[in-house]
């Protein structure tokens, strides 16, 4: 059951990535594309966390009385990575949305296939 759940989480993260990709590739609205990018990010964060997951693990803190707990500790590195990645993803999303506002002011539309004055 737990095994299934573990694979399930992997599956869920990949599913999230694919959903995000679907949005990025097929949705015409800029906002939806930005949302899609965020979903991809979320999926990848989940994937990273899952790598460091340990069933019934403990927090990775050495404290008195838990000196031998290293074997049961959850790997802290992916968590640190995910925290950083979330911050970056937040920054990128903010920039993206501000650009969307600029684009809307300039083109009066959010349809990506109408915004292609730069080409060839």
């Amino acid at each position: 059951m737990y095994k299934f759940l573990e694979y399930g989480v992997y599956g869920a993260s990949i599913l999230l990535i694919l959903i995000g990709l679907y949005a990025v590739l097929t949705k015409k609205s800029l906002i939806k594309i930005v949302i899609g990018l965020s979903i991809i990010d979320g999926g990848i964060h989940l994937l990273l966390i899952t790598i460091g997951y340990l069933r019934q693990g403990t927090a990775p803190i050495f404290s008195p009385g838990f000196e031998n707990a290293a074997a049961k500790m959850v790997d802290p590195v992916p968590q640190a990575l995910v925290l950083t990645a979330i911050v970056i993803g937040f920054g990128v999303t903010a920039v993206a949305l501000s650009l969307v506002i600029r684009l809307y002011r300039h083109h009066r539309t959010l349809q990506i296939d109408e915004i292609k004055s730069l080409k060839w």
Binding site: I51, V92, L118
Partner: protein, 500 residues
């Protein structure tokens, strides 16, 4: 000793926070301080490079966490050379754009210079870091500043270019993260040296998948063929000097990341052939597209992409001569392309559309700028006695040593195309009549811009007439790249020696 490599990253990041505060004291400081920071980075990187040349690689551990646990910075002959190129260009871009547009007032200027500094700091970080996740963070820092700089002009269509760039950029970061996740799950480390030493234990299937994701992720920054759709738009719409920074700073860092993966991290020999193939495709598609461009900066952008393809081909050859040629190409491109962007942006300064047909007869009105553009064109197509010739010759000899006759032939055919489109522009500037209705109103460059361009022009001539001025550095850098075990030892032993 002026400082340690970490200051290359810490100082600009710190300055970025401080500058808005300083700006309240005196507005001009917002323009001056980034210049001082970039100048400091330039001095520091050069000093460190000299020291590395004498005493060997500097490995810096951050916050006492030794490799492979903590993040470490590796300042070797290769990374030092690239960091020096990047900081030099950063400084020149600052000097050029000190007063690029007089009508740019305090608020945008503040953002412009802060982001420029961040861009340079991020690119330097990509090059000198020894940790893949740290590299990812620096790629993002570079990326975000690049998006913002691309969208700098509100009047133009720059938001469109920036959005495309951002879309591709965040896809790139997703691919990178997936690759990092795969590597971490298999090897349990993020340190480049340790990954390299453990790579043979990794399941080959995961190894290839990780490599593909890495190359796709960084390939977007490095402008590899099907991934470079954003590049021409961004180069065109960004301010002129930022185009130079993209060509000289961002792409260089991207290429470095690709070759670090292929040469050091992954032990897949077939990846070299892959680089040659993808580089050739990039080269051919980009140059043939450049031939039919109507806008000057867009043409320069495609030419820049093509040059990066050639760099990848040269790296793909994989021998010492090949790596040497590739580094030489990168150096030359970092000197020549900014000159073209600088002078080109003054040639079409007053034009809205930036069309090539608008530069007719400008040579009469702005002979110096136009002359520098011509010098850059001569150099980039590889005419002797200018800089580009030696790198082209070394690429060809390296390819000939490996018997890649088809590669030589294709590179030379593409060079003919390159000559055609560059000389069309030079012809227009100098040998066609100025036409009041069509041509742009000439705009004389400012004094600081002239200095920045002159420095680059002198570099072109020096390398052209006396290539030995740089070949020594390039040779030691290329041996450094090929010395995989040396890299691993350097990084890991420093860690161990500190433990005991």
């Amino acid at each position: 000793m002026v400082g340690s490599p970490v200051l290359l990253i810490a100082v600009p990041l710190l300055a970025a926070f401080v500058i808005p505060l300083i700006g309240m004291i005196w507005k001009e400081l917002v323009r001056i301080v980034p210049g001082l920071v970039l100048a400091y980075m330039l001095v520091l990187s050069v000093t460190l490079l000299v020291e590395v040349n004498q005493n060997g690689t500097i490995v810096e551990t951050i916050a006492g966490w030794k490799a492979p646990w903590g993040i470490n910075l590796v300042y070797s002959n290769l990374t030092g050379l690239l960091a020096t190129i990047i900081t030099t260009l950063g400084f020149l871009v600052w000097m050029f754009s000190y007063r690029f547009k007089r009508n740019v007032d305090f608020e945008p200027a503040k953002k412009y210079f802060i982001f420029l500094m961040m861009l340079v700091a991020g690119a330097t970080g990509i090059v000198i870091t020894g940790d893949i996740f740290n590299q990812f963070v620096f790629i993002e820092i570079t990326g975000i500043s690049a998006y913002a700089l691309t969208a700098f002009y509100t009047g133009r269509n720059s938001a469109e270019a920036a959005f495309k760039y951002l879309m591709m950029g965040s896809l790139a970061s997703s691919f990178l993260l997936i690759a990092i996740a795969i590597i971490y799950s298999q090897l349990g480390t993020l340190n480049m040296a340790e990954i390299a030493s453990k790579m043979h234990t990794m399941d080959p299937v995961f190894k290839v998948i990780a490599l593909i994701f890495f190359i796709t992720g960084i390939g977007i920054e490095a402008e590899i063929f099907p991934l470079n759709g954003w590049a021409p738009d961004a180069y065109t719409e960004a301010p002129g000097p930022i185009g130079a920074a993209f060509a000289g700073v961002v792409v260089k860092a991207g290429i470095y990341a690709v070759i670090r993966m292929v040469f050091t991290l992954f032990d897949i020999p077939a990846a070299h052939d892959f680089l040659i193939t993808i580089g050739l495709i990039t080269l051919i598609v980009a140059e043939s597209t450049a031939l039919r461009q109507e806008k000057l900066k867009r043409m320069l952008a495609y030419s820049s992409i093509g040059q990066m393809g050639l760099v990848l081909v040269a790296f793909g050859i994989g021998t010492h001569a090949g790596v040497f040629a590739a580094l030489f190409l990168m150096l030359n491109h970092a000197v020549i392309k900014p000159l073209l962007f600088f002078s080109g942006s003054y040639l079409v300064f007053n034009s809205k559309e930036k069309r090539i047909s608008e530069v007719n007869g400008l040579g009469k009105f702005m002979p110096y700028t136009a002359g520098l553009f011509a010098l850059g064109s001569f150099a980039i197509v590889g005419l002797p006695p200018f800089a580009g010739f030696w790198s082209k010759l070394s690429v060809l000899t390296a390819a000939a040593d490996e018997g890649l006759l088809l590669v030589i032939a294709l590179v030379l055919i593409v060079s003919v195309i390159e000559i055609v489109y560059y000389f069309r522009v030079v012809n227009r500037i100098f040998f066609q009549e100025y036409n009041k209705e069509e041509s742009v109103v000439p705009h004389k460059p400012r004094f600081n811009a002239i200095i920045a361009m002159t420095v680059l022009a002198i570099l072109i001539l020096v390398i052209g007439f006396y290539p030995d001025a740089v070949t020594g550095m390039l040779h030691s850098a290329s041996s450094d790249l090929l010395d995989k075990s040396g890299y691993i030892d350097n990084v890991l032993q420093v860690g161990q020696s500190l433990i005991r």
